[in-house]
């Protein structure tokens, strides 16, 4: 019997809804085919966006969408993607698959997608191969309200009103594909570029308009355990920064992918044994250490946690599906991915005082996707169902919780706790408990002790044999199911978490 202790009186931090954010890159079939099919497509669409995809994503309350990359961002020239589509420049996407990019999805289309999804915007600018002027003019094009050359151009292209840019990334992976820079060099470039990412809401002439800074700037942070990068960037950004709050940045990014067999070989998405199951999950759990250690460095510079840690690329990265273009990063998604998602989201929730946005890679057809498409068909992955389940935590209050675990696994290096959990009080006033059982074969009986009386409880679960997945031939194998095997008692709840499961209990308190 495992004890789960919940102290609802101890509210720890707000779980920003942006932790449940997503990422869409011009890569493989994420944007084209996956999201955007064009107005003339036989696939049902609204202004070129697939209706089936948009509706499915609205159901999981996508809070924010990062675009256009990734590595693509540092080669993207935004002016290629505006104006009449037939006149837009056609380029070769050298990063991903070497296919033709006709720029039919550009700035206007991105904001239209976010409008349809009802989500916040996170635009990633080009520092690696673009100019300061280019970045500055893009921000002007997107956000300036009034008379200016870029606002005029936007209006000529059919959008008189400015859009809202909620987050702006100043470069991407500048330690690698974004320019192979050193931390000090990047940080100086960051300081320069971000100066010209102007917040035009400050210049509004409308006295009714809310004029607090509206664009939150994201500085390129480390890859995985590159603590030298984190320290080097922060040192340079905080040097002689008097008068500019928190080192000129509102967020510092972190990228971390789980590839069970390493970067070069990665490993199959669907063909794995129990050893690889535990190895994968232990690598997912490593996110906790990364957040703690990078967070400790951030604490030295920013003890009040004003800079958000933004994990804007995370998830599983396997060898592509056999017979598919290796540059398209198309992979299947199993119960193992559901566990990786559940474990990682529990970790983010528990660190929500510092982690205030995360963007799983990627939203459709690429890496650990929510949805897979083929022509007019679409399937929801096990990961989709976890995001559906965990949406209860969006903007909820994390409360103190602790779970009694035992160590399980098959190899000393990759042992894992059998359970993880996080608990919040949602905007609906209810208590939301999410639990993952990492064991391949052992169910876990859990005795939840809660410091208030429970008046009712409902549950939902994603579970199955570790290889189970949804396919175009069998799209409903893994689904969100009702979980009602929960017993209420004087102290709280008792329930059994099946092996390979992620579950969510909604508790009404008396």
């Amino acid at each position: 019997m495992a004890k789960l202790l919940i102290n609802t009186e101890r509210k720890l931090s707000k779980i920003s809804k942006e932790i449940y954010g997503h990422f869409s890159e011009h890569l493989g079939r994420c944007i084209y085919e996956g999201i955007y099919v064009g107005e003339d497509s036989p696939i049902e669409n609204v202004n070129g966006m697939r209706t089936d995809v948009v509706e499915a994503l609205k159901a999981i309350k996508v809070p924010v969408l990062r675009w256009p990359g990734g590595c693509f961002a540092d080669e993207y020239h935004w002016e290629d993607g505006i104006g009449p589509k037939e006149e837009r420049k056609t380029i070769i996407n050298t990063h991903w698959g070497g296919v033709v990019e006709d720029n039919s999805f550009g700035t206007h289309e991105y904001f239209e997608l976010c409008r349809q999804l009802g989500c916040k915007t996170y635009v990633n600018g080009n520092l690696g191969s673009g100019t300061v002027r280019e970045m500055s003019e893009w921000v002007e094009y997107m956000t300036f309200k009034g008379v200016s050359p870029m606002a005029k151009l936007r209006a000529e292209n059919g959008h008189e009103e400015p859009w809202k840019v909620d987050y702006f990334g100043v470069g991407n992976e500048n330690w690698g594909c974004g320019g192979n820079m050193t931390p000090e060099y990047y940080a100086n470039e960051y300081r320069r570029y971000q100066t010209y990412v102007r917040d035009y809401s400050q210049h509004s002439m409308d006295p009714q308009e809310h004029i607090k800074p509206s664009i939150l700037k994201v500085c390129c942070g480390p890859n995985v355990d590159d603590y030298e990068w984190t320290r080097g960037v922060l040192e340079t950004c905080f040097r002689h920064s008097e008068g500019s709050p928190h080192g000129f940045m509102d967020g510092l990014s972190l990228h971390y992918y789980v590839h069970p067999e390493g970067w070069v070989k990665k490993g199959s998405a669907t063909d794995f044994d129990e050893k690889v199951w535990y190895k994968t999950l232990s690598k997912a759990l490593y996110m906790d250490e990364l957040i703690r250690r990078h967070g400790a460095i951030m604490d030295e510079f920013d003890p009040n946690k004003e800079i958000a840690m933004i994990v804007d690329e995370w998830g599983t990265w396997f060898t592509v599906e056999p017979g598919t273009n290796p540059g398209f990063l198309y992979q299947q998604n199993t119960i193992r991915d559901a566990l990786v998602a559940g474990i990682t989201l529990n970790i983010f929730n528990k660190h929500s005082d510092r982690v205030r946005m995360a963007n799983i890679a990627q939203i459709v057809n690429v890496l650990q996707a929510m949805l897979l498409t083929e022509g007019d068909k679409m399937i929801k992955t096990p990961t989709y169902h976890i995001f559906d389940m965990y949406k209860c935590h969006q903007d909820a209050q994390l409360v103190e919780s602790w779970i009694d675990t035992k160590t399980i696994g098959l190899e000393e290096e990759y042992m894992v706790p059998n359970l993880t959990e996080s608990v919040s009080i949602g905007e609906d006033g209810k208590l939301h408990i999410t639990v993952t059982n990492l064991s391949v074969e052992e169910a876990s009986e859990i005795d939840a002790v809660i410091d208030c009386r429970v008046s009712s409880v409902t549950g939902e679960i994603v579970t199955g044999e570790m290889h189970e997945m949804n396919t175009f031939e069998d799209p409903g194998r893994v689904q969100l199911q009702k979980f009602d095997a929960v017993e209420m008692n004087e102290k709280g709840l008792r329930f059994v978490a099946p092996p390979c499961s992620v579950l969510h209990l909604t508790v009404e308190m008396a």
Binding site: G28, R29, E33, P42, I43, C71, T94, H95, W96, G97, V99, W175, G176, C177, N180, P222, N223, V224, D225, D226, E228, W229, G262, W263, V264, K283, Y286, P322, G323, T324, N325, P326, G327, F328, Y330, N365, E374, G375, D376, E473
Partner: protein
């Protein structure tokens, strides 16, 4: 735990040995259970339709991202275009 903190994905993709990838793909096709594969005649019929299709790019279908020699061999797979070009 990790393998290299800074790397260039672009270079790694370029370094990918395409010949080995395709050899693996052909091996994979050869190992597929007989009952999962279409007949030789059907395979050739499907491939001939792909060869005449605008979505074919360097052996790959741009609609689904699959190399068509792999996709066409599998009974359960259809052509992703609308309508399905393989349907007789």
């Amino acid at each position: 735990m990790q393998e290299g903190q800074r790397y260039c994905r672009k270079c790694l993709l370029r370094e990918m040995d395409e010949a080995e990838y395709f050899k693996n793909m052909y091996d994979y096709i050869a190992r597929l259970p007989h009952e999962d594969k279409v007949s030789d005649e059907e395979y050739e019929r499907r491939l001939s339709i792909c060869k005449g299709c605008d979505y074919l790019l360097q052996g790959m279908c741009r609609l689904c991202g699959c190399y068509v020699e792999m996709r066409a061999v599998m009974k359960v797979r259809g052509c992703p275009d609308i309508p399905d070009r393989w349907k007789a």
